[in-house]
């Protein structure tokens, strides 16, 4: 999963967190897609999932705080998108517990996470940068 310059929104804190998210999701995809036996990669999978769960929340909180600070008009809509994604992650976390981290479900989660993240950062998040670049006017 490649980080692209076009994903930057021009806010150092947010861009740094996005880059870190891309790096972590990319590592996660590499791990789940590697040829190693599932049992062997499971500890790495669990570790990444734990990190992601915490980091996604930190990042969403920081991004939402920034939107509030600049008076971003799409704040509420954006907050709802974040919330829906957090709910989805939570549902997967419960499913992982129930199924003792089945390969099938972890793979499914990985595919969804990757596509969601690319679209969100390349699309929705760009609107925050655009708003700021226009001098914070609608």
């Amino acid at each position: 999963m490649m980080w692209k310059e076009k994903y930057k929104i021009g806010v150092e804190l947010i861009d740094g967190q996005h880059r870190e998210l891309f790096r972590r999701v990319s590592d996660f995809v590499k791990t789940v897609q590697s040829e190693d036996k599932w049992d062997e990669k499971l500890s790495k999978v669990k570790e990444t999932l734990e990190f992601m769960k915490a980091y996604v929340i930190t990042h969403f909180d920081d991004e939402e705080a920034y939107q509030k600070e600049i008076g971003y008009p799409g704040y509420e809509r954006h907050r709802q998108i974040h919330q829906r994604f957090k709910d989805e992650v939570q549902k997967y976390a419960e499913k992982f517990q129930e199924e003792s981290y089945s390969e099938e479900t972890v793979q499914e989660f990985g595919g969804k996470l990757m596509a969601w993240l690319i679209n969100h950062v390349a699309g929705e998040d760009q609107k925050i940068g655009d708003f700021q670049n226009r001098g914070g006017s609608v």
């Binding site: 490649m2 897609q33 793979q107 595919g111 969804k112 990757m114």
Partner: protein, 154 residues
Amino acid sequence: MKAQYINSFYKAVLDVFRLMLDINPEREELTVVDDMIAGNEANVMIGITGDLAGSVLFGFTKDMTLEMVKIMSGMEMKKLDSFVSSALGEVVNIISGNAVTNLSKEGYTCDISPPQVIIGENRSISMATEKALTLPIKTEIGKFEINISVRENQ
């Protein structure tokens, strides 16, 4: 069935492919078919409810699906596994979400159901009671199609 339904989906495909894959798709000629069959190697079905009711079926070849996921992940993909089909399902989900936003601008308030990914050729699921429109779309990594069958709820 009106052309604006399919146009809302086509516009969403353009936007999402450019944004996520850096690909510019091109539409080909629209045809009318009697029913919808999930006849491709990777099919994704979405249900629509609200002012419009029906379903939309996206059909991709295996090669194109693997290439799309390769572009996103930066990794060579070999098979249509859970990772690949889930990523494809999410891309179609995003396209359909954008299409619903486009439809709302035309005055139709709709919702979509979560994508259902059907892997394997000839898993015939004929689901339309009415005729469907098929829009073939050409891209530099292959061709795919969108089948749409919806009716207006009065």
